[in-house]
């Protein structure tokens, strides 16, 4: 009797070991919480129409379109990196002080775009929901996200693919100060 009880207990113990081993394996697949190390590479995009001026500015960006210098960040509701970009814009570290910034959310449906804007609290910025990505692709030839479109004197001067908003901001600041120095010279 005792040996039957012992074997039953051993089977239960083995099952517990299996569960813990699986739990341990799953735990190793979850990234550790804390500051995330993002790729700081800011990659220029070549397939966009540089130097162009959009035929029209959609509602939500009309006022932004009047600015001489503007940075449009194009996000998509179906890209996981875009959610992280939105998180960087609003929370970590937050870029609400970036006055020339506006956000375009490319999405399949208006409601998905609205929920992306609400969920990531992007209402702190000027924003526009681009259903089907029609406006962004027709005006600038942009078909990837996340993308940053940099406007200088109302014209599209450069476009970048990026993962780290701080790195992007530094790159644009360097670009702007470089062009200012050229003008002064």
């Amino acid at each position: 009797m005792l040996i039957i009880f012992g074997i039953a207990l051993l089977v239960v113990a083995a099952a517990v070991v299996v569960l813990f081993a699986m739990l341990g394996e799953l735990a190793t697949r979850i990234p550790a919480p804390g500051p995330t190390r993002r790729d700081p590479v800011v990659q220029p995009l070549e397939e966009v129409r540089l130097g162009g001026v959009p035929a029209y500015w959609p509602p939500g960006l009309r006022q932004a379109g009047g600015d001489r210098d503007l940075v449009l960040i194009v996000l998509s509701t179906v890209c996981s990196t875009c959610a992280d970009i939105a998180f960087q814009l609003t929370e970590e570290p937050g870029h609400s002080d970036w006055g020339e910034l506006a956000v375009v959310v490319s999405t399949g449906s208006e409601s998905a775009g609205q929920s992306f804007i609400t969920q990531h609290r992007l209402t702190a910025f000027r924003w526009f929901i681009d259903t089907g990505g029609d406006w962004i692709s027709q005006q600038f030839g942009v078909r990837v996200s996340p993308t940053a479109l940099v406007f200088s004197d109302g014209r599209l001067s450069s476009a970048y693919g990026f993962h780290d908003v701080a790195a992007l901001r530094a790159k644009i600041a360097a670009e702007r100060s470089g062009s200012m120095q050229k003008e002064t010279a």
């Binding site: 040996i3 207990l9 113990a13 070991v17 081993a21 739990l23 341990g24 394996e25």
Partner: protein, 187 residues
């Protein structure tokens, strides 16, 4: 023949079973850690074959664990344990010589130490225990209360060792992250 008390043998067999059961199950579920460690140690054929090798080791450990609970197979199990201890010692020595850095994965993903002194010591203990079993002879382990005690020790030992090996995971799940960190469990 060496005379070993039946109760000492029961505790020893139960302990060996607990260790081998934890090691075998962990390798079976999470073979990647040992796969990486072995690849760092010796040139191994690519991915799936290295995985088959690790699962083969895990199967051998589980069979050996079961054998220690069957009195009739005690002598064979003791001989196999000596051989197994020798292999672990050799792997530890090789790890020391080559200064490997990948976690050994001897107990799945929960072990963070690379192959080295710990494995040499563990292998030596296995050789001593196996050697004692051989010296005690085939009739040392007999069916009856001793065998039942070995199974009970194995069950309890398996649970205790499992909790100890996964103590960090248990603490992280049971306590708020802040408390675990301040306790020095996570860097």
């Amino acid at each position: 023949m060496l005379h070993v008390s039946g109760w000492v043998l029961a505790v020893s067999d139960g302990g060996i079973t607990a260790v081998l059961l934890n090691a075998g199950v962990a390798k079976m579920v999470a073979p990647r850690a040992l796969q990486r460690a072995l690849t760092e140690l010796v040139p191994l054929p690519g991915g799936s074959q290295a995985g088959v090798l690790v699962r083969g080791i895990a199967t051998a450990e589980l069979l050996l664990a079961a054998a220690f609970l069957v009195p009739a197979a005690h002598l064979v199990a003791a001989i196999a344990l000596v051989a197994f201890g020798g292999l672990i010692t050799a792997a530890g020595l090789l790890g020391l010589l080559r200064r490997t850095t990948a976690p050994c994965g001897c107990f799945g993903g929960s072990t963070s130490q690379p192959l080295g002194l710990g494995n040499v010591a563990f292998g030596a203990v296995m050789i001593i225990l196996g050697g004692t079993g051989i010296a005690a002879g085939p009739s040392a382990a007999s069916p009856g209360p001793g065998a039942a005690a070995a199974v009970l020790v194995a069950s309890i030992g398996t649970m205790v060792l499992c909790l100890w090996l996964h103590r960090r995971l248990v603490l992280e799940l049971l306590m708020p992250a802040r408390l675990v960190r301040s306790g020095g469990e996570t860097p």
